[in-house]
Amino acid sequence: MTESETVTAARDDLGAAAPAAAPQRLRDPAGTIAHEPLRLGSVSKQYPGTQGPAVADVDLYIEPGEFFSLLGPSGSGKTTTLRMIAGFERPTQGRIWLGETEITGQPPHRRPIHTVFQNYALFPHMNVRQNVGYPLRMAGVAKAEIRARVEEFLARVAVSEFSERMPHQLSGGQRQRVALARALVAKPQLVLLDEPLGALDLKLRQEMQVVLQHLQREVGITFVYVTHDQGEALAMSDHIAIMAEGRVHQIGTPEDVYSRPQTTFVARFVGSTNLLECERDGSGAVCAGELPLRVVDAPEGGGFHLSVRPEVLRLGADASACDNRVEGLVEEAIYQGSDVQLRIRAAGHLIKARGPVGVYGPGETVTIGWNAADAVSIRDDAVPAVANGGAEAA
């Protein structure tokens, strides 16, 4: 399939799926915000003088009005992807569309897309009010309206009382809110957020997560959120794209990527898991090393990994009814408050499990068990080239 065919096909999907899903998410009374989906078609970025692309062949479809996260470790290409959407970087290959308009070559100031920068990037010589009003001033909005809109958004992010302060007189959390107001005030199609909570302490971060989510729902603007914090992505997103080494490994709802990881990277990166390397023997039975296993969806041919989350593991007497059982030796028990994190050596594997407080200690023998349906098989040759072309919007 050529590039343009791919795009046409994806747009057809979108035509069928989007109208059904989109209107429920639009909560702005004016109803004018976020009606354009964003689409990346086979986008790659190679920086001059570097080996290998920073972003390779990324296809994304982002629904109007959704909270979409790009999740990955540092160097995974998520920020580069965001910068290409914003227009700060030009893709080496591929195209970007906003609705029906191709924006691949548009300079940032012509795109209806605003960014919340990692270090906020507030203008140091303007006070809070002037900072927030800046996009409107650039858009040539009348003074009276700028004033009203700025007041509205300062109130939305709860910084009205600081409107006359200069950026250096604000705390990190307040700067964050001002940056957010500045990105939202002109009611763009899309707001891009580049690890906006990275510099805040834990408590403030949790508070801002709630603020962000509410704000996004209230104003009905599409959010594209870059983060390396899987907890953050799971908590806030409608859809998550998980990236590693410039490629998209999986796109799906938080539940999808957590409970049905498609690559071993996704299984490991999102939450905590036990990955067992599995093989089929001559008779077709599955075993992980020495350990024979019952697996419900074992792929035909080739090796695969079985992902077993710590929370699906049963211990001791609870394990007796499970499909898979194995004896193990507790090597480590780390007290976590509500439960104990266990590391258990069983049939040559080191298994992470959670147990009740004060029951299993190091050196004790324990039976571990899980039901075949609670584990997920991941093909070793799973190609990390995923297009979400509107498929899961249906």
Binding site: P108, H109, H114, A121, Y134, P135, M166
Partner: protein
């Protein structure tokens, strides 16, 4: 105990600041005080009359020559500082924004002339502007003039051109150090908010950079306003500036009280100009890495 320990500490601190205080007193306050005192004395044939008089200042103010030279110096200093700023600030902007990792070397190339003697830098312009100079040769070759012109050298224009050249590294340094500290994401943020390149410059870069540009301008202005070397070398008679007469008063005329009054008047005019310029210096912002 703690009080006993504190006394030597503060004494020590005094001792540490003593060299600085001595420096200021001996090399700044004392010479200027002497100059001020001299300006109120009167020159006699065989010495100096030590009674108070304002005659020297009257002579300064009533002299058409001094007024003319003062105005000419203002014009040349203002013109050279303006030209140096118009050239050096855009240069600094381009170097910071577009030279990437080579910006340091580019900056070095522009500042390198400062390592060469001031006299040499001025003198070399005689080779460029003179009758047998490079400029005349070039204009003759391309056929703009038929015979060498003496118009380029020995004029107020020559002084202005040379001082513009001399001033460029100063404005460049002042502009470069500040522009280099503007975080690159501010340019991106402005573009992101819908500002084109020019509006980013006007609404973000210039307001932040202005104080440092004004400082660069002031440096060049002060440097040019009191200069007598450049006018002597390339100014000719029509390029004489106020510094030249100050020098003559102390030198050839041997009239120190008059020279002192003339020098203090020059400093006063220059302070007035700097005072007005400093109104443009007000800065309300704090850049990353600075303390509020």
């Amino acid at each position: 105990m703690s009080a006993a320990a504190r006394v030597p500490a503060s004494a020590w601190r005094w001792l540490m600041t003593l060299p600085a205080i001595a420096w200021v007193v001996v090399l700044v306050i004392a010479p200027n005080a002497i100059l001020v005192v001299y300006s109120f004395w009167k020159n006699e044939i065989f010495g100096i009359d030590h009674s108070f008089t304002l005659a020297n200042y009257e002579a300064v103010v009533q002299s058409d020559t001094v007024i003319t030279l003062m105005l000419r110096s203002l014009a040349i200093a203002g013109g050279a500082a303006t030209m140096a700023t118009l050239i050096a600030f855009p240069l600094a902007y381009v170097v910071v924004r577009y030279f990437g990792r080579y910006k340091f070397y580019a900056a070095l190339l522009i500042i390198v002339p400062l390592w060469i003697s001031f006299l040499m830098r001025v003198f070399s312009w005689k080779i460029i502007l003179g009758e047998n100079g490079i400029l005349n040769g070039f204009l003759e070759t391309i056929g703009i003039i038929d015979e060498p012109s003496s118009a380029f050298l020995y004029s107020p224009w020559a002084v202005g051109i040379v001082m513009t050249y001399v001033g460029i590294p100063y404005v460049f340094l002042a502009s470069y150090t500040l522009l280099d500290r503007i975080p690159p994401n501010l340019y991106e943020a402005a573009g992101d908010c819908g500002a084109s390149g020019w509006r980013t410059f006007r609404t973000v870069v210039w307001p932040i950079a202005r104080p440092s540009v004004v400082i660069g301008f002031m440096l060049v202005f002060v440097l040019v306003f009191g200069d007598y070397v450049t006018p002597a070398l390339v100014g000719g008679f029509s390029g004489t500036m106020v510094g030249t007469v100050v020098l003559q008063a102390f030198g050839g005329l041997n009239n120190w009280p008059y020279g002192a009054a003339l020098a203090i008047s020059t400093v006063a005019v220059s302070l007035i100009v700097l005072g007005l310029l400093s109104l443009l210096l007000r800065k309300r912002y704090v850049l990353e890495g600075e303390t509020a």
